[in-house]
Amino acid sequence: MDIRKVKKLIELLEESGIAEIEIHEGEESVRISRGSTLAAPQTMIQVPQSTQAGEAVKMHPASEESTPKADFADEGHVVTSPMVGIYYSSPSPEEPEFVSRGSSIKTGEVLCIIEAMKIMNQIESDVSGKLIRALVENGEAVEYGQPLFIIDPS
């Protein structure tokens, strides 16, 4: 979505007495809401598939359709990739993997790194539990929303 359009929407919201507006345009949607304690409106742009918050995360060549999260949901808690990039299972090639099968995991613990634009994004676990298995190989390209780990929550 064009940033100027979003800006225009924010101005519109500020001028009006409306607390929140949501616009859908094809696959993209934007919701702008006026936080009660914040002077400026907060913006949350949702673009499905490859782009998050306007971040450049498109990958080429596009890999096959990512497996839906639901496929693993009966096995445990599924941690998905928040972005498109290259998946790394260890901090550096010489170091051991962050987690392996059977590892006990705490909320906030780093599970892997996903690299995009030479930014090393440390992906944290959103649950505590035991790692059932990792679904991606070191060095593989991952898509937005692609399942990475299945965790048995505790």
């Binding site: 306007g54 971040e55 450049a56 634009m117 030479k118 930014i119």
Partner: protein, 326 residues
Amino acid sequence: MHKGQFDLLSAIADGHFHSGQELAAKLKVSRAAIWKSIKQIESLGLPVEAVRGKGYCLVAPVELLSEDLIKASLTSQAKQYCNNIEVLFKTSSTNAILLNQLATAEVHGKVVLAEYQSEGRGRRGKKWVSPLASGISLSVAWHFDIAPGALGLLSLYMGVAVARTLLQSGLIDVSLKWPNDVVVNDKKLGGILLELRGEASGPVDVVVGIGLNYNLPSKIISDIDQAVCDICNLSNKRLSRNYIVATLLSNVFEVLHDVQAGVSTKLIDEWRQFDHYRGREAKLVMSDKKIEGVLKGVDDQGQLLMLVDGVVERYTAGEISLRLKQ
């Protein structure tokens, strides 16, 4: 911890000869302790000459980092954001220090510098060589309450902050190689590594690590497996190391401010001005494959454009390896 080595290095920093006896008296240690510390300094990559009857002398004088000198030369904007500067003599990696502090301390606006890094790192375990007092190795931590739209671009923008610093210091022919390698005449001058923790659309902490070659000992230059250059050799005047750090930090904080305030869109055009590699044949190396093509600059999201088999493709990952000019 490393006070002995630091005090000794300060005493011989001027590059003149100092006798073991003089140094021992000054630092209130034995001459054997001086000798031992000299050996340690040499093992950290800084060559020292020892001449019987004259004493010890650095092969080239060094300017040690000073928190006060750096602070004094920051722009008023940077002073406002930079709440804490810590200069370490020796550490594993300045990025690692700040990343480890993320969980427990308030590190927004904190800067860590090191005279020597034992595990200075680049992309995926690549080593960044930072011999004692010969480079500029620093990391800056920044917290965004809401991940800005331009987060992916931050990688390129930090390249702009470094390139701008070098121009302001009088260097010429400064190039950026996607996304943020700092290169002069095809020789690497500096590198940048961003590490990020947080949510894509929520709060995020970013650690920006920057390594610049300031005055590398010639032995180190020949040991590194690629063509490198340093600031002192490129400049015809003696540039203060502390002043360059202050200029660099001022530019880094200005970029972070612009990204946070959402006024950073013109930075991509500034990046393009440093892109001297358009039209060059190159290989993009990813972990499991190599793609050959012709570099075509970047799009507005900072993605690499490359002409591959007659089609312009976009990439967000990989490392560019340039084909040498014939």
